[in-house]
């Protein structure tokens, strides 16, 4: 049966979003993003305050300064961590350089009772939740796996398996719903993560149950060496269309826009309006991690183009132009950041290694006969080297 009549083009497809799509998904991250009409901005790259017909912020000078302080301090902490890694104090570090506005803007939009599910790069959000940066260093140094108390700061542990935390956040939000609580949950993830089944399933759960969760995707244009075109041929915020909840793209290097958009989305969630997807359009200025060499896969021009959009320089210009802060204030923040960095450096070096037997702790909440046996045997084993002790027991033979 070879009837051709049905082949007339074009079919009445459900319209594909009218955004230039790279159907071939060719490589190359593309240069500076052509700002689209749908990119929410409250500050131009030059620091001009522009209006948006839906979103606005009107903060006090102190509040505006607070945001600046956050931006500078987390960048400084990040730089210090990179230095510590170079000095061999950390095993690895995932830098947030370039994403400060996306993280501080969203982090400061949170209320105390809101709950955060981060990836491994949300040092700026951790800062907003008063998580001691030493905890973060501890993880990357290898003295613990995070180990802070998530419920103390309403900030969950870093999740390294891409996308997994979005389901945890959604389930947590279902719990908030059942508790009738007036709070929201925010799940952070990257542009690469949006390809994981778990992330898409979390969109399904959140929309079907109308859970109070905000999905905050930092599109820093790269998943290690893969440009965002490898993950989607349309803008990421439009993924939400397929699941029936709102999506918005915000300039991730504009701390005020991120703040306003996130605050609105969180409030929607609290008010029972369900989930939302925020795509913070930003850029990973540094390497994926300290072990990565981005010159292997991306061109310098792209990085240069994004430098012109630096979130801190932009915001500083805004503060200056609007008289919210002057040179002396900026200098004081620089001084404070040096002090914070110094404390961090010292604290990191002093982080104690875990005791050998501690590796048996906290695997189980309740007694476990096998673990008890293994712990006892290992303790006896370590003791058997007493005398030939090299400091933490063991390795008598490797010594000799």
């Amino acid at each position: 049966m070879t009837d051709r009549s049905a082949r007339r083009r074009p079919p009445a497809w459900d319209a594909t979003p009218a955004v230039a799509t790279d159907a071939e998904g060719t490589l190359g991250g593309g240069l500076a993003p052509t700002p689209e009409p749908d990119l929410v901005q409250l500050l131009t790259p030059e620091g001009e305050r522009v209006d948006h017909d839906t979103y606005s912020v009107d903060l006090t000078t102190d509040q505006y300064r607070q945001l600046y302080r956050d931006l500078v301090l987390v960048r400084r902490i990040d730089a210090e961590a990179i230095a510590l890694q170079r000095q061999g104090e950390l095993g690895i570090w995932a830098s947030l350089l370039g994403q400060e506005a996306a993280q501080i803007g969203s982090g400061r939009a949170l209320e105390k009772d809101d709950y955060v599910f981060p990836t491994y790069r949300e040092h700026g959000v951790a800062w907003c939740r008063d998580v001691d940066p030493l905890h973060l260093l501890g993880l990357f140094r290898g003295v613990n796996l995070g180990g802070w108390d998530p419920n103390e700061k309403n900030f969950h542990l870093y999740t390294i398996v891409i996308g997994a935390q979005t389901l945890h956040a959604t389930g947590y939000a279902m719990g908030v719903q059942r508790d009738g609580a007036e709070s929201a949950v925010i799940a952070y993830f990257g542009d690469g993560a949006i390809s994981q089944g778990d992330v898409n399933e979390s969109f399904i759960w959140a929309s079907v149950y109308n859970a109070p969760v905000v999905f905050f995707c930092q599109n820093n244009q790269w998943a290690i060496s893969e440009p965002v075109e490898r993950q989607s041929r349309i803008p990421l915020y439009q993924r939400a269309r397929g699941f029936g909840f709102p999506g918005v793209r915000v300039d991730g290097n504009d701390v005020l826009a991120v703040y306003a958009v996130t605050k609105a989305a969180l409030q929607d969630a609290r008010e029972g309006n369900g989930p939302a997807l925020i795509e913070a359009y930003t850029y990973r200025m540094g390497a994926h991690t300290t072990t990565d060499d981005p010159t292997r896969y991306r061109i310098a021009d792209e990085v240069e183009a994004w430098k012109l959009k630096d979130p801190i320089a932009r915001y500083r210009r805004f503060l200056e132009q609007n008289g919210h802060a002057d040179e002396s204030y900026f200098t004081s923040i620089d001084q404070e950041s040096d002090e914070v960095a110094a404390r961090l450096r010292k604290g990191c070096r002093e982080l104690p290694d875990p005791a050998p037997l501690s590796l048996f702790d906290n695997a189980y909440a309740e007694p476990h006969v096998l673990l008890d046996e293994e712990r006892a045997q290992f303790a006896a084993y370590l003791d058997s080297f007493a005398g030939a002790d090299d400091g933490h027991g063991g390795h008598a033979r490797t010594e000799g």
């Binding site: 180990g147 108390d149 998530p150 997994a164 945890h168 947590y172 719990g175 695997a363 909440a365 006969v369």
Partner: protein
């Protein structure tokens, strides 16, 4: 004393759990109005509401992943995986998140989650509906793994699993769902992680769990007719193992056969054999012999009887063990 099926025992146990702790929620595919494809959650949504007995979208990773989130919020979810072969989409959430969350948090959080998995064959089903994946979970530190074999244990063990502050993978022998036993609700149950000698004997010990407990008991009866006295132990817990209970028996009998439906290669029997041999080396008159599935995918149901260990294959192993 009431006579109940395993399905009923589990249903009653879950009902108790829901009554005793407001934080207990049940999640899964078709667990609500439908009461689960095996009716284990029958009537629970009607009595406890849609907020506590939740029909979920059709995705196992989502079920376990959101259940972890609920647990982090203070809930105590019980997830139903519809059939053994469908737990694998959730494997990543179970192995890398559920099992590790507490360790990652230095004990600051607990994730009290129970994952119910009907397992085992002999139901004449199509592919993926008759598997025994317990060894994958045994090898995963951070999890507890148990398997009930009868209605009474089903009633008690599911309550104990839900009450545990650690994640528990709870295996239910679906081929035994409709077998009956007398339940005394006033009795005191054995600890969740204890094995049980279900038949005493002196010539050899047979260790098993779940669906093959009955197979081994039948084998012991048949053996008796041939003048052989077999001890049968229902392990009940696979992780941790109640290895001392097994060793105590082996030190008397000197011979051990392990039987399960999962493929022998890399199965739970390997760990039991290795561990018992190390602990009872001088007591063993023969090597620990293992009876189980062959190293193929689960076969078409019309030959599953050949694939699964039956009375004869268990007794054949006993013969071989006695021959040493």
């Amino acid at each position: 004393m009431t006579s109940i099926t395993l399905v009923k025992g589990l249903n009653m146990g879950l009902r108790k759990a829901l009554e005793n702790d407001q934080k207990v929620v049940i999640m899964g595919e078709d667990v609500g109005k439908h009461g689960g494809v095996f009716r284990v959650t029958d009537g629970l949504q009607k009595d406890f509401g849609e907020d506590r007995v939740i029909d979920t979208p059709l995705a196992e990773s989502g079920i376990v992943g959101t259940a972890i989130g609920l647990a982090l919020r203070g809930y105590r979810p019980v997830c139903e995986i519809q059939f053994d072969g469908f737990v694998f989409p959730a494997f990543n959430q179970i192995v890398s998140q559920l099992a590790k969350m507490r360790y990652r948090a230095d004990g600051h959080v607990t994730v009290p989650l129970t994952i119910r998995i009907p397992f085992g064959g002999h139901i004449g089903a199509v592919e993926h509906h008759s598997e025994s994946p317990e060894a994958y979970f045994m090898h995963t530190a951070g999890l507890r793994v148990v398997a009930c074999s009868n209605p009474v244990d089903g009633y008690w063990m599911i309550q104990q699993a839900v009450a545990s502050d650690d994640p528990v993978i709870f295996f239910e022998p679906k081929g035994r769902y409709w077998e009956k036993a007398e339940l005394d609700e006033s009795a005191t149950p054995d600890p969740l992680h204890s094995a049980r000698v279900v038949r005493q004997g002196n010539d050899a010990t047979i260790v098993t769990y779940g669906p093959t407990v009955k197979v081994c008991l039948d084998a012991a009866v048949a053996a008796e007719e041939e003048g052989r006295s077999l001890e049968v132990i229902d392990l009940r817990s696979l992780s941790p193992l109640d290895i001392e209970a097994v060793c105590a028996s082996v030190r008397r009998t000197g011979r051990l056969i392990v039987a399960h439906e999962a493929p022998v290669f890399g199965g739970s029997g390997a760990e039991i054999a290795a561990r018992v041999t190390e602990k009872c080396f001088y007591s063993l008159e023969a090597p620990v012999l293992r009876v189980g599935g062959f190293f193929t995918p689960y076969p078409p149901s019309r030959i599953e009887d050949e694939y699964l260990p039956d009375l004869d294959r268990v007794l054949d192993a006993v013969d071989r063990a006695m021959a040493y």
